[in-house]
């Protein structure tokens, strides 16, 4: 049974859930509110160009704070719900590798987060084109797509970490709180120069800043990307090892 079948299986389940659409609606609403606030409080002379575009596209607020929460909650639902309802048992009694279950869940959530993020971006972009952005905005789109993808990859670290936590506990609330706490701890660690280079969140921010500067230092960008990917792979490996050894008693 290949990974592609499992991925289709996970995507069907994910997009059937109300929570998936509630999270999407919430993200779009926040993005519209943020746009309106930016528009109402716009500076008299400076309301054009790249910086304004970034402000209105919520790189710093909606994306930075909302997406990780959505990612963690969806990951918690994806795993803990299966354990609490026993559907994981139905799935695991099929000839499926446990590590493939985890990988397919992560990939399904990656696609979902892309869907949510780029929808937010699309909505913001349309609002901006109508009411704010100056000429030449379209040329920023490739950079914006990459920036959002960097943030999405950052949320995948949190998703993989949530899978690790879920291998210890089936309690949905505990899993969500530990994962959210983990995210906050890394945001704090970012402030300490001695350790910031070891945190994934620093490298996500670093990549985004490189893209914003529009004079990309590719060596640094690749380094940051590598660190984020190492985090994802390390947590996935840990989660699949723990899942493989775990007795399924639900």
């Amino acid at each position: 049974m290949n990974l592609l079948n499992l991925l289709k299986f996970e995507i069907k389940k994910l997009f059937k859930q109300k929570i998936a659409y509630i999270a999407l609606t919430l993200a779009i609403l926040l993005s519209i509110i943020h746009f309106l606030l930016n528009f109402v409080n716009r500076p008299a002379d400076a309301y054009s160009g790249f910086n304004v575009l970034l402000d209105n596209l919520q790189i710093h607020t909606v994306v930075l704070f909302t997406l990780p929460i959505i990612a963690i909650l969806m990951a918690v639902w994806s795993v803990s719900e299966e354990f609490s309802t026993g559907t994981i048992r139905t799935l695991m009694t099929k000839p499926v590798k446990r590590e493939n279950i985890i990988v397919s869940k992560l990939l399904a959530l990656l696609l979902y987060m892309c869907f949510v993020s780029y929808t937010i971006m699309g909505v913001s972009f349309l609002l901006g084109l109508r009411w704010g952005y100056g000429e030449g905005v379209i040329s920023f789109v490739p950079s914006l797509l990459l920036m959002y993808f960097e943030y999405i990859l950052g949320t995948m670290v949190l998703v993989a970490f949530t899978f690790v936590v879920a291998s210890f506990t089936t309690n949905t609330v505990v899993t969500a709180l530990i994962s959210l706490g983990f995210h906050r701890v890394f945001l704090v660690l970012e402030f300490f120069t001695q350790v910031q280079k070891f945190t994934f969140s620093y490298h996500v921010s670093n990549s985004v800043q490189l893209l914003m500067a529009r004079s990309i230092d590719f060596r640094q960008a690749y380094q940051s990307l590598a660190v984020v990917l190492i985090y994802i792979l390390a947590f996935l490996l840990l989660a699949s090892t723990l899942w493989d050894r775990r007795d399924i008693t639900t």
């Binding site: 049974m1 059937k16 048992r89 695991m92 009694t93 099929k94 000839p95």
Partner: protein, 222 residues
């Protein structure tokens, strides 16, 4: 070739023994029943056979494949129902079946017919216990498995469905499918099984062809 082989299987949870020294062999193309009261270790044995649990000691093989070492290979061509039936609540019965059928590359429509499922358009959250169990048996039958591992397949079912499921299992056995099931009801063993294992508090008390076992002396839920 034996469909199932258990050698000195023991399982303990936090130093509490749940199964102790189970050794048995289930031949292909037979119906094998495990009889025992609640808490005797029947479901644990099935969880071990499906790789959901790892044995504390001993080994379990499905068609010569060690379940603990290669669960995926061991479960190829094996249909399972373990514990209470669990499905995705926001999907209909048919959508659940198709979900698993697509995963296995099997035909869901075939089992809908053979299992007499008439509630395919009902959301799982609105199904009765009997219907959920029927759906679980249908899911186990996806892909024409050569071995069925079924945990209490006829327990707590409506009388009509109970008889229907028994007929279904007998017709599956006629198609050379090996059936391994658990029950706490002596009548199920008498009606279905050719061979049986009797479990009491995690220990095997008797094993062999049903005709040779003195079932009338057993104190289970008859």
């Amino acid at each position: 070739m034996a469909a199932i082989t258990c050698e000195s299987v023991t399982k303990t949870f936090k130093e509490t023994p749940v199964l102790h020294d189970i050794t048995m062999e289930v031949e292909e193309n037979t119906i094998f029943g495990v009889l025992g009261p609640d808490g005797s270790g029947k479901t644990t044995l099935l969880r071990l056979l499906t790789g959901l649990l790892k044995p504390t000691s001993g080994s379990l093989h499905l068609f010569d494949t060690d379940v603990s070492k290669d669960t995926v290979h061991a479960l190829q061509g094996v249909g399972c129902l373990v514990g209470e039936p669990a499905f995705y609540r926001n999907f209909t019965a048919e959508e659940n079946l198709h979900l698993f059928a697509d995963l296995l590359g099997a035909d869901a429509d075939e089992v809908v017919q053979s299992c007499g499922i008439t509630f395919q358009n009902t959301l799982v959250k609105y199904l009765t216990y009997t219907q959920k169990k029927q759906l679980a048996i249908a899911t186990a039958l996806l892909g024409n498995p050569r071995l069925l591992l079924l945990d209490e397949p006829v327990s707590n079912l409506d009388a009509a469905v109970r008889s229907q499921v028994k007929n279904l299992l007998q017709s599956e056995a006629e198609k050379e499918t090996t059936i391994f099931f658990t029950t706490s009801n002596l009548h199920d063993i008498k009606d279905l099984a050719a061979h049986a294992l009797i479990l009491k508090e995690g220990e095997p008390t008797a094993c062999g062809p049903v005709k040779t076992l003195d079932l009338n002396t057993l104190e289970v839920n008859t």
